[in-house]
């Protein structure tokens, strides 16, 4: 059962326009959400995150919105640039008390292509 879903495998956007990547989750115990960016043949790199007690977090061109009632979050990239072309993974965090650590559950990813 997929707890974190990214329903769009791919997205194409013109350079300069807004990119909106969506993510849905089912587990209400998730308390922190993250977006990672991954280029081919490289490991994922952390992009931006949001706590479950907030509804918006902004960092430069990147903004993440969280709608807890809908169990939905989105990543907005404005303006989109060709260098943003990558696979974006949504991840949700839950605390595992037995291990004393957080575990991330990832979505399947959305491949963003920004067209010059």
């Amino acid at each position: 059962d997929q707890q974190v879903k990214q329903n769009s495998p791919s997205l194409s956007v013109q350079e300069g326009r807004i990119s909106i990547l969506n993510c849905d989750y089912t587990n209400s115990m998730f308390d922190y959400f993250l977006w990672y960016k991954k280029y081919p043949a490289e490991g994922p790199t952390f992009l931006i995150s949001i706590s479950s007690i907030k509804d918006k977090n902004e960092d430069g061109r990147f903004t993440v919105f969280l709608n807890k009632s809908a169990k939905h979050l989105s990543l907005h990239i404005v303006p989109s640039q060709p260098g943003d072309s990558a696979v974006y993974f949504c991840a949700a965090s839950a605390y595992r008390s037995g291990a004393g650590s957080y575990q991330l559950t990832f979505g399947k990813g959305t491949k963003l292509s920004v067209i010059p």
Partner: protein, 116 residues
């Protein structure tokens, strides 16, 4: 900057071979993780470790084992490699507990393993 390194970028092994994938982090992180990434399936957690000699199964531990003898090093072992273990393997590390930044995981560059 956090650095997570993996022993090989590309590896080709034969069916039935024992395979060792090594991961080293230099930030004194308590937690270390092994994931595999497959097209259309995203990142799936194989095992993680929250302390030296401590380990927890992730979502897909079958066919794998792990070893953590030192804090900075986490090894993934394929006891008898099979073709369905052909994948990209990613190692990650993070801080422990409820301290700030505990949610964020830092990834290595990945090892592309092909089992023939």
């Amino acid at each position: 900057d956090v650095k997570v390194t993996q022993s090989s970028r590309y590896l080709v092994k034969r069916t039935g071979e024992k395979v060792f994938l090594e991961c080293v982090q230099d930030m004194d992180h308590e937690n270390m993780f092994w994931y595999r990434q497959d097209p259309g399936l995203g990142l799936r957690l194989i095992y993680f470790s929250y302390d030296v000699k401590m380990k927890e199964k992730g979502d897909i531990p079958e066919g794998y084992s792990v070893s953590r003898e030192k804090k900075e090093r986490f090894s993934l072992i394929l006891e008898s490699a099979s073709t369905n273990q052909t994948s990209m393997y990613l190692c990650a590390s993070s801080n422990a507990g409820l301290a700030g930044g505990a949610y964020e995981q830092y990834f290595g560059p990945g090892t592309r393993l092909t089992v023939t």
